[in-house]
């Protein structure tokens, strides 16, 4: 696999990872809303979650991006520290906007914020810097 194919593969993996996370949340919220938990709904939510976990392992685990963005700054050299700093700056700007949009949607729709949304936001907050690093800086 050449470098360009690898980069495209990682970007595709990132998109799949975020889409599967969104799917998990949307399906969970939908079935919670209609209050219809049956075998099909459980399989649908579990499948989306499985795709998320698998793509998480392939994109963040195998590339070492997760470990890289969670290492203490003292263990990074100046290039790595600069890279992580820039990734964090972009990631948290995007995250702040995303969090505000989600809060606005929930406030307007008068829906209670579920534990799943909280968990998803927590996961996104941790994934964002690594995603930016992989997407922007390859």
């Amino acid at each position: 696999m050449n470098q360009n194919e690898k980069k495209t593969g990682i970007k595709t993996g990132l998109v799949i990872n975020f889409l599967s996370l969104i799917c998990t949340v949307v399906l969970f919220e939908y079935y919670r809303y209609i209050d219809d938990w049956n075998l099909i709904s459980i399989i649908a939510v579990s499948s989306a979650l499985f795709v998320f976990l698998l793509s998480f392992y392939l994109v963040y685990g195998r590339t070492g991006a997760w470990r890289q963005t969670h290492r203490p700054f003292s263990k990074l050299d100046e290039r790595e520290a600069g890279l992580i700093y820039e990734s964090l700056r972009i990631a948290y700007s995007v995250f702040a906007i995303l969090a505000l949009i989600i809060l606005l949607v929930y406030a307007v729709s008068l829906w209670p914020v579920s534990i799943i949304i909280f968990a998803a936001m927590l996961i996104i907050a941790h994934l964002m810097p690594a995603s930016v690093m992989l997407w922007k800086f390859n």
Partner: protein
């Protein structure tokens, strides 16, 4: 602010001294991938790192780094003789 590209002779000097990237990385206190980035001139080192590189090779800073493309060593020697 956009910084200028820095050219360097790190790859040449490292090979001259039969030093691996890993060994040089250990000596200057960076990840070995950073040495690769430096050699490909894809990353401009800080002043501190540039000094560490110059100390390891025992050469003045301006001999290793330049803001204009580096001349081949043979050309430089020839110019010196003239």
């Amino acid at each position: 602010m956009d910084s200028r590209k820095l050219y360097n002779r790190i790859a040449l000097l490292r090979r001259e001294r039969s030093m691996s990237r890993k060994k040089l990385a250990e000596k200057i206190g960076v990840n070995f991938q950073t040495v690769g980035y430096l050699e490909r001139e894809e990353y401009n080192p800080s002043l501190d790192l540039a000094f560490r590189v110059s100390e390891i090779f025992g050469l003045p800073l301006e001999y290793i780094f330049s803001t204009s493309p580096m001349k081949p060593m043979s050309q430089e020697l020839f110019d010196l003789k003239k």
